[in-house]
C-alpha cells in the first residue's frame, strides 16, 4: 500500500478527508430530517454531493483558527462543509434551528454565519455578492503581502448575476488571490432548466476575465482536492484570480463522491471496511446527538431582536410593548 499515492496525501490525511465528506453528508441529512419532522421550518437547499465536494475543496486550504489562515465561502447548497474549519457541530444545528445559543443568536438564517478567525464565511442569499466581498477580503491579503488565499463557491446559475461578474472582474483586475469555484449542476434548483447561460462548461468564462480556469469531476473528491490545491497554490504564488468548475452530471444523478472515495480507499488498501464503518457510525451518532442537543436549547427572547443594529447607537424597543405606551412614547421609544 503506497502511503502517498493519493495526491501526496498520507493514510491519516485520507481518513480525515473521508471523515470530512461523511460529516458533511450526515450534517445535511440531519437537517433534512429536522425539516421533515417539523423542527426546522425552512428547508435547507443542500443537494446531493455538494457539501461533500465543498469539504474536499476546504481540505485543500491552509486552515488556522487564529485569523491567519485561508478563507472560504460556501454556497447555499454546500452548507454542510463547515466542519473542517473547526466549527462546532452543535453550533451548526443551533444556527439552523435559530437557537439563542447559536453563532448568530437566531438572527441569521441557516448557513449564513461566519467565523473570520477560523476562515469560514457562510453564504448570503443575494447570488454573487460574496464574490465581491471575497474580492475585497483577498485584496486586503494582497495589500498586506499575506500568504493567504480566498475561495468562494457558487452554483453555476449565480454566474448570470451582475454581482458575480463585477466581483470576478474586480478580483481579476486587481490580481486578488481568489479562487472561484463554479458548482456546475446546471439542472439548477431541481427545476429542470438550465438557463443561466448558453454554456455547457463554465470553464469557458475564465479567458473572458483573463484568468486561468480548469474543470473537474464532482464525483472524484481527490481530483477536486487536487484541483483546488493547485489553483490556490497558484493564487498564493501571486498568480491572481482563478476559476475552477466542478462538473455534476447534468441529469442530476450525481455519482456520490463519498461512495466513490470509499470504494477507492478500500480498493487501494488505504482503509479497511471496519475502519470506515466505524467512522461512519461515529459521525452519524455525533450528528444525532448534536442535533438533539441543539433542539433542546432555548430560542432567543423576543426583545433580543432590538440591539445590535449599530455599534454605538441604541435603538429603542417598540413603544406599544411597554407597560405604559404613552410614557414610552414620550421617552422617545419607537
Amino acid at each position: 500500500m503506497a502511503e502517498h499515492d493519493a495526491h501526496g496525501l498520507g493514510r491519516a490525511e485520507l481518513h480525515q478527508l473521508y471523515r470530512a465528506l461523511v460529516l458533511a453528508k450526515s450534517a445535511d441529512a440531519s437537517l433534512d430530517s429536522l425539516h421533515r419532522t417539523g423542527s426546522l421550518e425552512t428547508s435547507v437547499a443542500s443537494r446531493p454531493g455538494r457539501s461533500e465536494v465543498a469539504a474536499a475543496a476546504a481540505f485543500a486550504l491552509r486552515r488556522a483558527d487564529d485569523g491567519t489562515g485561508d478563507l472560504m465561502v460556501l454556497s447555499g447548497s454546500s452548507a454542510g462543509a463547515v466542519f473542517l474549519f473547526g466549527l462546532d457541530l452543535v453550533d451548526f444545528f443551533r444556527q439552523h434551528l435559530g437557537r439563542a445559543t447559536g453563532p448568530t443568536r437566531g438572527r441569521d438564517a441557516g448557513g449564513s454565519w461566519l467565523d473570520f478567525s477560523r476562515g469560514f464565511v457562510g453564504p448570503l442569499a443575494s447570488h454573487g455578492t460574496m464574490i465581491e466581498v471575497m474580492a475585497g477580503v483577498t485584496l486586503a491579503m494582497r495589500l498586506r503581502g499575506e500568504d493567504r488565499v480566498g475561495v468562494v463557491l457558487y452554483g453555476a446559475e449565480a454566474s448570470a448575476a451582475g454581482a458575480w461578474h463585477e466581483g470576478v472582474n474586480f478580483a481579476a483586475a486587481q490580481s486578488c488571490p481568489l479562487v472561484l469555484v463554479v458548482e456546475n449542476d446546471e439542472w439548477g434548483s431541481n427545476r429542470g432548466v438550465p438557463r443561466s447561460s448558453r454554456l455547457s462548461t463554465f470553464q469557458a468564462k475564465g479567458p473572458g476575465y483573463g484568468i486561468g480556469s480548469e474543470s473537474v469531476d464532482a464525483a472524484d473528491a481527490l481530483a477536486v482536492f487536487d484541483s483546488i490545491r493547485r489553483a490556490t497554490g497558484l493564487a498564493r504564488a501571486g498568480d491572481g484570480t482563478r476559476l475552477v468548475e466542478v462538473r455534476y452530471p447534468v441529469d442530476g444523478s450525481a455519482a456520490d463522491p463519498t461512495w466513490v472515495l470509499r470504494t477507492r480507499m478500500l480498493e487501494s488498501g488505504w482503509a479497511t471496511t471496519q475502519e470506515l464503518d466505524a467512522l461512519e457510525s461515529e459521525v452519524a451518532g455525533a450528528c444525532t446527538a448534536a442535533s438533539e442537543q441543539a433542539r433542546a436549547e432555548p430560542v432567543p427572547e423576543g426583545r433580543d431582536a432590538v440591539p445590535g443594529v449599530y455599534t454605538d447607537v441604541e435603538l429603542p424597543a417598540p413603544w406599544t410593548r411597554a407597560l405604559h405606551p404613552g410614557a414610552a412614547l414620550a421617552e422617545g421609544a419607537l
Partner: protein
C-alpha cells in the same frame, strides 16, 4: 391546431369555487394573457417549475416558451429586458422570486424605467410582481417589504393588495396600466385559508390609486395595507367589543400614488390617525402620510398621528425574534387605546 384545455386549477372562479389569494393572482395573470397577446411573463423558475410559489403553474404548457420565459438569475438584466420589450409595445410582467431580490434591479427601475416617460421615451407598461413580507422564518433576505425602496421614485406606481378580490382586480389594472407598477404580494396571504373567497365571474378591475374603507368608524382612523389590514381589523373588532371604540380601517391598496383624499376625509371625521405598516419604522410610509395629513387636515387633528410598525432592524430569522420584530394585533390595540384616550 387543437386548442389546449385551460388547466383545471385556473377555472375555480369560472366554476364558482372560492380561491386563495395566490389563486386570484394566477387567475389575473392567466386571464390577462388570454385577453391580450402582448402580455408575457419573465422570471426565474416560472416556466418548467411553475414559479417558486407556483403562481404560474401550467402556464408554460398553455402559452408556450415565447410567453413564459425562464430567465437567468439576473434581476437587473431581465427587468431591463422587460423595459425594452415594453418599448416595443409588449406588456411584460416580471416575477421576482422573492422581492428581496429586486435590489439588483434597483438601478434600472429607478433610473431607467421610472424616468422613461418623462424623458420622452414613451409609456412603460410593465409590472414587477413578487412575494414580500415576514412571518415565514425566512430570515433577513427572504422576508422584506420593498415599498420604501421605490416610494420615493416619481413615475412608479406601487400596489400592495390585502385580499384575493383586490389582488385579482388590482393586478389586472396594473397590467393594463401604461406606467411601471411594482406589485407586492404578501407570502402570509398566499394560501391563508381564511382569505379564500368566491370572486365575481367577470372581467373586473380594481382601479389603481383608490383606497378602500374596510370598516367604518367614528373614533379613530387606522390607515394600513397588505397583511396588516387583517391585524388592524382584528384589533378594531376587539376594541369595539372590549372598549366600545368605533375604529375605521382604511386599506390603501395602492401606495403610490397615495390616495390622500380617502385618508384626509376619514381623519376629518375621526380626528385621530394611526398608521400601521409591517415594514420597518424609520423612513416608512407612515411619515409621508403624517406629512400629508398635517398639510391637509391639521385643523381636524385631536391627537398626534401615531404609528405601529416593525422595529428598525433587519428581519431576524428565529421565530421568537421575528414575532417581536413584526407589529402584532396587540400593538395595534394598545396604540389605538392610547390615541383614543388622548
Amino acid at each position: 391546431m387543437t386548442r389546449l384545455a385551460i388547466p383545471e386549477h385556473l377555472l375555480k372562479t369560472r366554476r364558482g369555487e372560492p380561491v386563495t389569494f395566490l389563486e386570484a393572482i394566477s387567475e389575473a395573470l392567466f386571464e390577462e394573457m388570454v385577453r391580450d397577446e402582448s402580455v408575457f411573463l419573465l422570471g426565474e423558475d416560472i416556466g418548467v417549475y411553475g414559479g417558486a410559489f407556483k403562481v404560474t403553474r401550467d402556464f408554460l404548457g398553455y402559452f408556450g416558451a415565447n410567453r413564459v420565459i425562464d430567465t437567468p438569475i439576473a434581476e437587473g438584466g431581465f427587468t431591463g429586458a422587460a423595459a425594452g420589450a415594453a418599448h416595443m409595445g409588449l406588456r411584460p410582467v416580471v416575477e421576482i422570486q422573492f422581492m428581496d431580490f429586486i435590489s439588483p434591479a434597483y438601478d434600472v427601475i429607478t433610473n431607467y424605467i421610472a424616468t422613461s416617460l418623462y424623458r420622452g421615451a414613451g409609456p412603460m407598461p410593465l409590472v414587477i410582481r413578487g412575494p414580500v413580507g415576514g412571518g415565514n422564518r425566512g430570515g433577513p433576505f427572504h422576508s422584506q417589504n420593498v415599498e420604501m425602496a421605490f416610494f420615493h421614485t416619481p413615475g412608479l406606481k406601487i400596489v400592495y393588495p390585502s385580499n384575493p378580490r383586490d389582488a385579482k382586480g388590482l393586478l389586472k389594472a396594473a397590467i393594463r396600466d401604461d406606467n411601471p407598477v411594482i406589485f407586492e404580494e404578501h407570502k402570509a396571504l398566499y394560501r391563508a385559508p381564511a382569505l379564500r373567497e368566491v370572486l365575481p365571474d367577470e372581467d373586473y378591475v380594481v382601479p389603481l390609486g383608490e383606497a378602500r374603507t374596510v370598516r367604518e368608524g367614528r373614533d379613530l382612523t387606522i390607515v394600513t395595507y397588505g397583511a396588516m389590514v387583517h391585524r388592524s381589523v382584528e384589533a378594531a373588532e376587539r376594541l369595539d367589543r372590549d372598549d366600545g371604540l368605533s375604529v375605521e380601517v382604511i386599506d390603501l391598496r395602492t401606495l403610490l400614488p397615495l390616495d390622500d383624499d380617502a385618508i384626509v376625509r376619514s381623519v376629518r371625521r375621526t380626528g385621530r390617525l394611526l398608521v400601521v405598516h409591517e415594514d420597518t419604522r424609520t423612513g416608512g410610509i407612515a411619515g409621508e402620510i403624517a406629512m400629508r395629513v398635517n398639510e391637509k387636515a391639521f385643523e381636524w387633528l385631536d391627537g398626534p398621528i401615531l404609528r405601529v410598525t416593525a422595529i428598525d432592524a433587519p428581519v431576524p430569522y428565529s421565530g421568537s425574534l421575528e414575532d417581536y420584530f413584526l407589529p402584532q394585533t396587540e400593538d395595534v390595540v394598545k396604540a389605538s387605546r392610547y390615541l383614543a384616550a388622548y
